[in-house]
């Protein structure tokens, strides 16, 4: 048993990796796709096509709307039918480019072969430019533009690149499958990022409940000419949290409000590494990702891992997989701990989509809230060492100064507090608001200083 893990808090939900045995299948193209302009952290992208334009697969259809933003590419060839607000999975409006799919004719210059390209370009700037041009963003959940993350501010130096293969969320198996099926590509992607960061130590961290992935990755690393380690991590949620993973691997703690680079760390998801490989070695833009269809009301034979084109409606994927199962009470995009409940299944997939998770109403409905018994389980579970019961109380009292003093702004919204509360108090619901209040106060002060 591996002992490598983070030091504070954490919980142990049943990992329920039901779809682990399902090989990745390629989804056929639907008739219409909707490409969102807000698929990444930062400013929304700006469309550069007009209604009626013909587009090819992989063609740039929107450019970055700011420094922290990303290019967006067409997921298929066809005609731009509309550029209009459309509801995302939460029911809020965002500009989408609607594409009437006519075929799959790719733009020039993309290497469509399956051959593994090992030789890495020498020019660091060329690599970064390709990553940027291909619209690569972090696929671990935060969708932070990768070229920005790989280009730390002058003065800070990367000492360790950590590849996040923890996949600590229950049910999700997309990262597991690509680690099995695209092992060498991921390793080459890691080596590319290692080179960009100046040849620092590079570690692939995988939770020990995925022994096949660990074995495959170790084999691939030994066969390829790079200096990369594979580490087996203890199974504990939220192992895949950036700060937690850095602590587990490097024994360093990122300070409050700090970035990983402040302790010399850069964390990238394994799926991002694959996207980096395809961007740099194959010149292939990020228009596909892997998604798991799973849940506790879906028989295993109906569970799938799909390679989807970014922009396919969730409802299309659900229908293709056999429809929403009978017993589903809640549909979640992402894992059961941090995923988002879907209010609008017609919403389009985005770069960060990783699952369609069907949970029965009984397993996901919240219990009746009762009084706090001060058991302290939330504080024990919090991986940031916060005291959610206290933050909950301070939030209700509206005491922003005390919230800041008790580090509400450090919350990573992992859900461990609410997961472990025996009184079913909606701790995270309130602490998330408290975090917003504390961050607002900090930002207001910073702005006033300027």
């Amino acid at each position: 048993m591996s002992k490598i893990t983070f030091a504070i808090g954490g919980v142990h939900p049943d990992d329920a990796k039901l779809a682990r045995g399902c090989a990745i299948e390629v989804l056929p193209l639907p008739q219409t796709m909707y490409v969102s302009m807000a698929q990444h952290l930062g400013a929304p992208a700006k469309p550069i096509v007009a209604v009626g334009d013909k587009v090819k697969t992989g063609q740039v259809i929107a450019e970055p709307g700011g420094f922290i933003s990303a290019f967006v590419h067409s997921p298929a060839s066809g005609t731009v039918k509309s550029i209009a607000p459309r509801k995302d999975l939460a029911g809020n409006y965002m500009t989408h480019i609607e594409i009437a799919v006519e075929g799959d004719e790719w733009v020039e210059g993309v290497d469509m072969s399956d051959t593994l390209v090992i030789g890495i370009p020498e020019d660091r700037q060329l690599i970064l430019d390709r990553i940027k041009a291909c619209g690569v963003v972090g696929l671990g959940g935060a969708t932070f533009p990768t070229h920005v993350k790989l280009n730390p501010a002058p003065g800070s130096k990367a000492e360790c690149l950590i590849l996040n293969g923890a996949e600590c969320e229950p049910y999700l198996t997309s990262d597991f499958r690509i680690m099995l099926e695209r092992t060498k590509e991921i390793v080459v992607g890691a080596a590319i990022m290692q080179k960009v960061l100046g040849g620092c130590r590079t570690v692939i961290g995988i939770e020990e409940n995925k022994p096949e992935a660990i074995a495959a990755m170790r084999k691939a690393v030994s066969e390829l000419p790079y200096n990369i380690e594979v580490i087996s991590l203890k199974k504990k949620y939220p192992q895949g949290g950036e700060k937690q993973l850095i602590q587990a691997v490097m024994h360093r703690e990122v300070g409050s409000g700090g970035l990983p680079i402040s302790v010399g760390a850069v964390v990238q998801n394994v799926a991002t590494s694959l996207a980096v490989y395809e961007a740099v070695q194959k010149n292939k833009p990020l228009i596909t990702n892997t998604l798991t269809i799973t849940g506790n009301c879906l028989p295993v034979e109906k569970q799938h891992n799909y390679l989807f084109r970014i922009g396919m409606p969730l409802s299309y994927i659900a229908e293709y997989a056999g429809g929403v199962p009978e017993g589903a009470g809640k549909i979640i995009s992402g894992g059961p701990m941090m995923g988002r409940a879907i209010a609008n299944l017609d919403a389009a997939t985005v770069k960060g989509s990783s699952s369609l998770l069907y949970l029965t109403a009984e397993s996901t409905k919240r219990g009746q809230e009762s009084l706090c018994i001060r058991c302290g389980r939330c504080a024990d579970a919090c991986p940031m060492g916060l005291e959610p019961f206290l933050l909950n109380r301070l939030y209700k009292a509206g005491d922003v100064a005390a919230l800041e003093e008790n580090a509400a702004q450090d919350c990573i919204e992992c859900g461990c507090c609410l997961y472990s509360c025996p009184a079913y108090i909606p701790l995270l619901d309130n602490v998330r608001q408290a975090k917003g209040m504390a961050l607002g106060a900090i930002r207001a002060r910073a702005a006033a200083k300027k």
């Binding site: 919980v11 009084l371 005291e387």
Partner: protein, 319 residues
């Protein structure tokens, strides 16, 4: 089909207040059963009456006085009832038990707002109230006939009560391996250290409580008793005597570890435990009462808000 939408997380550890209380009840059962065996039907009656009184009182207060939905479903009133019965002598009249239940539930628990809001451990508050109000009933250590005949049973005083009579040296000799299994005389629940510790281990295995409070109480008592006993064995009883007699094990395992009235953080818990250990030894060595576990816990209950203010979890990325 209308699906559920809620903020994350979407799953739960499936631990409820009720389940935690049920675990405490299960953990108390071994000691309760041993007390039934040695003290007979009377003790069963006290236990049943105490539980019934606590549950009915809580139900009636929430329903008719607070006009809120009933909280008796969380089983915490049953835990209070069991602990109260286990803290009374096996000969205690039922009307005294009832007064104890009133003080525990109505005064110590519900006036503060019910579960989670009280400052003092309800069962101990009830016991201490009875101890100072009805000292004759509360220190009548006559042993009633039980299901297991007990030849060396004695009446009149507990082991702790023997200290001023026999002196520390003789009293120390009364503690043997047998004391570890059954310790006749004293409150009903204190009878078997083994049964209590078995329940405590169950709670640890089920991760209902953490061991630090209990261990720090034991350690503090052992250190203080060790030092004093080494200095003057004729005056001060020894480590084993102080750990195994009186309410130390019952208090340290089940009363001091009460969620509501103990500190939240690990180090706060240690401070709390050390405080209890210190106070109990001071009362035993220098006080006028032979036993001080209840007083020690009550006094430290008062300090909990202060301890909680001072001791916090270690925060990530902050020194």
């Amino acid at each position: 089909m209308a699906y559920i939408v809620s903020p994350n997380p979407h799953i739960h550890a499936a631990v409820s207040t009720k389940r935690l209380m049920l675990d405490v009840i299960i953990a108390l059962c071994p000691a309760a059963i041993v007390s039934f065996l040695y003290y007979g039907l009377g003790e069963i009656a006290i236990m049943a009456f105490s539980i019934a009184s606590c549950v009915v009182l809580e139900w009636a207060i929430t329903k008719y006085m607070l006009k809120k939905s009933s909280t008796t479903g969380d089983l915490s009133a049953i835990v209070t009832g069991m602990l109260l019965a286990m803290n009374l002598p096996p000969t205690c009249p039922l009307w005294v038990v009832f007064i104890g239940a009133v003080v525990s539930i109505a005064v110590a628990k519900m006036t503060f707002g019910g579960i989670g809001q009280n400052i003092f451990n309800p069962a101990i508050t009830g016991r201490v109230f009875l101890l100072v109000s009805f000292p004759t009933f509360m220190t009548d250590w006559t042993v009633p006939a039980g299901f297991i005949s007990n030849v060396d049973a004695f009446s009149g005083a507990t082991l702790l009560g023997q200290v001023p009579i026999l002196g520390a040296l003789e009293a120390d000799k009364l503690v043997s391996l047998q004391t570890f299994f059954h310790n006749i005389g004293g409150s009903a629940g204190e009878i078997s250290a083994v049964a209590l510790l078995a329940g405590w281990v169950y709670l640890l295995v089920r991760k209902v409580i953490k061991p630090w409070i209990t261990l720090s109480i034991f350690a503090t008592i052992a250190v203080i008793a060790g030092i004093f006993h080494m200095v003057d064995p004729a005056q001060y009883t020894g480590i084993l005597f102080n750990l195994l007699t009186g309410g130390v094990i019952l208090g340290a395992c089940f009363m001091a570890t009460d969620y509501v009235t103990s500190p939240m953080s690990t180090w706060g818990g240690v401070v709390f435990g050390v405080g209890i250990g210190f106070i109990v030894m001071m009362i035993r060595y220098f006080g006028s009462y032979p036993e001080g576990m209840s007083f020690a816990i009550l006094l430290m209950n008062m300090a909990v808000p202060l301890i909680n203010m001072k001791f916090h979890q270690r925060k990530f990325g902050r020194k």
